[in-house]
Symmetry: C2
Subunit: 424 residues, 2 copies
């Protein structure tokens, strides 16, 4: 089948999935969990082909680690399939019930988006995670994985297809795999057939997708996160939150990249520097009066290091912190440390970011920690979904009107009037 | 000021608007309502310059009518400003309150989008409507109107600027007007500064915007709406809903374009044709066995006539109707006429459109009729907002986390556990 045919068949599948009971969608996921473990040997063999090829082409150690599938990882994948199956059904919820007039009611109902395209890099477990979230929420999905995981993605995809086929014929065409760059090019032109693209990877990938399609794109750009140590910060808490935000897992998007310190709290800088032993620090001129570190350049304020590097700047006021963050930040996640409630609230209100925190680590900004059950991704855009995105991000709504033959002419000429009464 | 400077200053204004009390935003709108009536003469004179230029360049009658501002239209604009001011504040609502752990709470709060770009055609009242919805919801707005309404747009914009300046200095830069095609070109490149583009106009305009920007676009494509007369339709209701859906206001996007008739109800065709006196009918071969009308071509099934023209097709089943609508329709608004509840529900569930109706006219699909208070537009896209979009379409959400110094390391090593308990 050509890619265009696969997309058309995913569209057709999406209409069947939209009316499939939750129980059937869940059974498909549980079947996949079983088959994943039953086909363990074949999956590991396919993955071995990928890792061998990667090794011989000199892939770096960290990419290699992400690519490698182990027994343990397979069990985690199966576990995650079962936990997605156990989540509440995001579909069918009635968000609004309104009487428009006697015998004329309006309902707003949660429905699947339809066909979702997902582009992900290296980690083959992303395929299982994304496909399971799509099926759970009643969507068809077009998957494009990294070429370095080609063999692993193929076998995982074909297991998904057969697990769903064993469950219900309505799933036919629901999960498609696209392999080449040319194929993804034609996917991007099919804006009539695909409702949402989710690029999971670098911000270059996100921008490339945005530049080459009319399909709406859900993705995050950079994670340039800040912690602001306010005038009235608790000293011990300021140090502890800096350490956790920066070092608990520096490679991820909600890790701290720039620390802002109120000019009256420069006394904390030596303790912070000591606590961040092993972290490369780059400071503004004011910071360097108190600790002996490298000079930060303008480019450090917008840098997403994703590594054990931290930029530090002294700011004259809460205003200065807010302005710095709204100007240089990426609207992802920013935190304030203070004992002053009024200043905390001002910070929470004025910072234009998807997550804002008061006296807590930036690392909490995450779908699992927020209790969303499963994470589709983190959106720094402001439309559709913002911040950690759960299953709801794969849904939309539909208005349903149920009447008894009412016509608009009666309301236009004034012979009837709307009641607009909320129903319980 | 260059356009880029205006956008930067709108961004700065958006941060002030986001924390401005609802009362101040409302006062700005009421001041504009007063000034609009006080400056009546100057507005009519500016509009006269536009209509004179339009007349001499041979603009069509219907465009001329849309362009013309009368005393009556000015009063309607002032009225609409007052009614937007009276709407409930869409900002600040808490959508989710969740305890993550003891002393660590998550809140999801409704906030303004930020900076919204709106492109609209000919009708100068659109400027007033859009700017008022933006200000009401705490957003800064970049407006681009049709060049034929240049003088009228200028004076309305400058009145908005002065009315807001008289109300509060925080509004400075909140409403910008962009006039030329080149200027809109640079607006479209400013995806870091503008959060949402709303093109209100032809589907060509929408596609042009989608093709030329990374900024998310909220807009509707075509309104190819259907009414399906089911096997068990009430005859009289079928005729009445067809007439209202097609003729009550044929120029708008929720007007009927294709009538589908179940093959067992072809007996209704003559009565429908008689009731649609003055409407040009184009039918499929089966339809033409019962009424003497022109033959429909394939292109008629996707046509948005926006005029007194109707395509009619006989379908063999509910399945056939659903497939026709999901294939040829524009996912805007579609209705079924039937007395059979099970078939109605199947239709409502299976049709992939922003509004689906049972025994009601397609013309009800509208923000005012749905009780949304004000309409930003109608979205046929599936992300962010779908169907008639009210003030909520100009908002997004923000997660706020309030803690007492919690760090993620404690949850990663298992020494603490999340409670994830909903708060009331």
């Amino acid at each position: 089948m050509s890619v265009a045919e696969e997309v058309v068949s995913a569209r057709a599948a999406s209409y069947k999935l939209a009316v499939l009971p939750a129980e059937t969608r869940n059974r498909g996921l549980l079947r996949m969990a079983e088959n994943l473990l039953a086909e363990r040997q074949a999956i590991l063999a396919a993955n071995n082909a990928d890792t061998e090829a990667a090794r011989s082409s000199g892939l770096g150690q960290s990419l290699y680690k992400r690519l490698l599938v182990t027994d343990r990882k397979l069990e985690t994948m199966a576990e995650s399939l079962r936990s997605v199956a156990a989540l509440p059904d995001p579909i069918g919820k009635v968000l609004l019930r309104r009487e428009l007039d006697d015998g004329l009611n309006l309902y707003q109902v949660r429905v699947p988006i339809g066909v979702v395209g997902v582009i992900f890099e290296s980690r083959p477990d992303a395929l299982v995670q994304i496909a399971s979230l799509a099926i759970k929420s009643g969507n068809a999905v077009i998957l494009k994985g990294g070429s370095e995981a080609k063999e692993t993605n193929r076998i995982l995809h074909s297991l998904f297809v057969s697990s769903l086929a064993e469950t219900d014929p309505a799933f036919d065409g629901a999960v498609a795999l696209v392999e080449s760059r040319e194929e993804i090019g034609s996917v991007l032109t099919m804006d009539g057939q695909i409702d949402l693209m989710i690029p999971r990877g670098s911000s270059e990938l996100v921008r490339y997708i945005q530049d080459n399609t009319r399909i709406p794109v859900l993705g995050h750009a950079d994670g340039v996160c800040h912690l602001y140590v306010d005038e009235s910060a608790d000293a011990e808490m300021a140090v502890a939150l800096t350490v956790d935000s920066k070092t608990q897992y520096p490679a991820v998007c909600n890790a701290l990249e720039t620390l802002l310190v109120h000019e009256s709290r420069t006394d904390l800088l030596p303790a912070i520097a000591r606590a961040l032993d092993g972290v490369e620090l780059r400071g503004c001129a004011e910071t360097r009066k108190y600790i002996d570190i490298a000079a930060a350049e303008e480019s450090d304020w917008t840098a997403e290091y994703n590594d054990l590097v931290l930029a530090i700047r002294v700011v004259p006021s809460l205003d200065g912190a807010v302005e710095h963050i709204n100007r240089y930040g990426s609207h992802h996640t920013d935190a304030i440390v203070t004992t002053n409630q009024a200043r905390a609230e001002e910070f929470l209100n004025r910072i234009d970011s998807s997550s804002v925190l008061w006296n807590a680590s930036t690392r909490f900004a995450d779908g699992f920690r927020y209790g969303l059950g499963a994470e589709v991704g983190i959106s720094t855009g402001k439309v559709h979904a913002r911040g950690p995105v759960g299953l709801e991000g794969l849904t939309t709504t539909k208005y349903q009107v149920i009447g008894h033959g009412q016509v608009v002419a009666d309301y236009a000429d004034g012979s009837k009037e709307f009641t607009h009464r909320e129903l319980s």
